[in-house]
């Protein structure tokens, strides 16, 4: 707590596009009063002041190199509550696509003979390195959901992240289902909370928010196959944001890709 009684919060970024932090800034457009209820003590993207005493740490981005781990552990030590902000931190996200190729090959492709100048390993979600107390999913996060999460944190409640699929929100918006338009969609197994924004704008849900607790994976794959997708295409749609999870599952022998 600050002297003024407002909880101190800090933002940190690792490997990511910083779009989620921008969304936080954007949330001020509709909720400028956010600044009246929390004390932001660190937010490198938007401010120079740095406070090392914070209660809640929002971490954006994946961990993609060993040298990030120490910094993460420091944050964990300081913060009472650590929240993964956005798909990169929550799932590994788009960064984990890298893991579909051998690491050496990836480095060589981009940096040629200078490949070993750059430290990197397969991207992983934050909770693969330190304990995380909550996750705000999405690529990027949803503005309103972020505000709702801040309120929940202020009240000591669980983060209000739904555990039902995107289809629920999509139906309530009365979108014509993409499958009826000859497209495909991961909405039936993806965790809602984005207000089905992708299907609403005519594009397939790509699963950026991760999956619901009990997705019917087999049935989903059959639906995709029936819609005309090849095995490779199904793999592709499943790996856009969740390569890390798919590979973890494979390691546990639960699934073949």
């Amino acid at each position: 707590m600050s002297q003024n009684g407002k909880p101190k919060i800090a933002f940190f970024d690792f490997t990511c596009c910083e779009g989620c932090q921008l969304t936080v800034i954007d949330s001020l457009q509709t909720h400028p009063e956010l600044l009246d209820v929390v004390d932001i003590v660190q937010f490198r993207e938007a401010m120079s002041e740095k406070g090392e005493d914070y209660l809640v740490a929002f971490i954006e981005g994946s961990c993609t190199r060993e040298s990030d781990e120490e910094r993460l552990r420091k944050i964990r030590e300081q913060a009472s509550i650590v929240i993964a902000l956005g798909a990169c931190a929550h799932l590994g996200g788009i960064n984990s696509l890298k893991a579909l190729h051998p690491l050496e090959d990836v480095r060589k492709y981009v940096y040629g003979d200078k490949a070993d100048w750059y430290e990197t390993y397969d991207a992983r979600p934050i909770d693969a390195v330190i304990k995380v107390d909550g996750e705000i999913p999405g690529c990027p996060i949803d503005r309103d959901e972020f505000i709702a999460c801040v309120k929940a944190l202020l009240m000591g409640k669980k983060l209000p992240i739904p555990d039902y699929p995107v289809c629920v929100e999509c139906k309530l918006k009365e979108n014509v289902c993409l499958f009826k338009k000859g497209k495909v969609c991961l909405g039936p197994i993806t965790r809602a909370g984005c207000n089905a924004i992708c299907p609403t704008y005519g594009a397939s849900c790509e699963g950026c928010r991760g999956y619901i607790t009990n997705p019917n994976d087999d049935s989903m794959r059959e639906v995709l196959a029936e819609a005309g997708l090849s095995v490779d295409e199904i793999t592709s749609i499943y790996t856009m944001f969740t390569t890390y999870q798919v590979q973890q599952k494979m390691k546990q022998g639960k699934e073949t890709v």
Partner: protein, 289 residues
């Protein structure tokens, strides 16, 4: 009468109960911690309003901004009524927020809801109570009413089990009941502790310690879902008829008035028809136990 494009409020329709979803602000008078997870709250309705509940009924407790949850009334109507007691176990958002409240704070109350125990049918009978764990608070209401009208009932037997000695609730009252000559109280814990000198074992192990006259016995149990099957078997084995066995079925609830669908057990809304049921009524329900 076609009103113009004007806005209408509930007040324009006098006959509709527009208070149905609106909780009554109710002050917390006293908070007592029973153990790590359970607290006993004494509440008082405003303006001397009385709750008029039956044992076995519940209220919906609101904490604004957190939500609403069903909580059984643990005090007995035979004691004070504008004041009543709730025993709350801290398990989630609302119950945690409740635990953070102090005497003087306000919560919202709707209810009482549900059917409660048909105590008039119990008069003249022996009563066998078998609460498990957090099943005691809802049953305490009935037990105390029975004790308050002790002369109208036959034997009163209480078999109470909890996971460990710390989880036995209302220890003072247990002692009081245990000291009474007209109450047969048997306690057990699944796992003992150093200082525990009593019975160890699940609640069903207590049944062999008692003998009853089944035709004149009402059996009542409240506890976690897993317990019911076994306790029921004991009741039936003792020869108690299905219509004389009562239990309370906890379900998720969102309205308390038989609409939201969450508490439905097959075709029965447990918030309306229950949560207290005679076993004879639910034994045909696939989803009940």
């Amino acid at each position: 009468m076609i009103a113009n494009k004007s806005y209408v409020t509930l007040a324009d329709y006098g006959s509709v109960d527009n208070q149905l979803f609106m909780p009554v602000p109710t002050r917390i008078k006293k908070v007592v911690s029973l153990n790590d997870l359970n607290k006993l709250f004494t509440l008082e309705l405003p303006g001397g309003m009385s709750l008029d509940h039956r044992p076995g009924q519940f209220v919906e407790v609101s904490i604004f901004g957190v939500g609403e949850a069903p909580i059984s009334i643990t005090s007995s109507p035979s004691r004070s009524n504008s004041q009543f007691e709730l025993c709350v176990r801290k398990v989630g958002d609302l119950t945690s927020a409740f635990h953070n409240m102090r005497a003087g704070d306000i919560v919202g109350i709707r209810g009482p809801f549900g059917r409660g125990f048909p105590i008039e049918k119990f008069r003249g009978k022996d009563i066998l109570f078998a609460p498990g764990g957090l099943g005691l608070p809802p049953l305490r209401s009935l037990i105390n009413q029975v004790l308050d009208e002790r002369a109208h009932f036959g034997r009163v037997i209480i078999l109470y089990g909890a996971r460990n000695p710390d989880e036995l609730l209302f220890k003072d009252e247990l002692k009081e009941w245990g000291d009474r000559k007209d109450v047969e109280l048997l306690l057990t814990v699944d796992k003992g502790e150093e200082n525990w000198k009593g019975h160890v074992g699940v609640i069903t192990t207590l049944f062999k310690e008692i003998s009853i006259y089944p035709r004149n016995t009402i059996a009542v149990t409240v506890g976690p879902p897993v317990m019911y099957r076994f306790v029921l078997m004991e009741f039936l084995a003792k020869g108690i008829t299905e219509g004389n066995i009562y239990l309370s079925l906890e379900r998720r609830m969102k309205c308390g008035i038989g609409k939201c669908g969450h508490c439905q057990i097959n075709n029965v809304y447990s918030c309306q028809s229950g949560p207290v049921f005679p076993y004879s009524e639910i034994k045909g329900l696939e989803e009940a136990l």
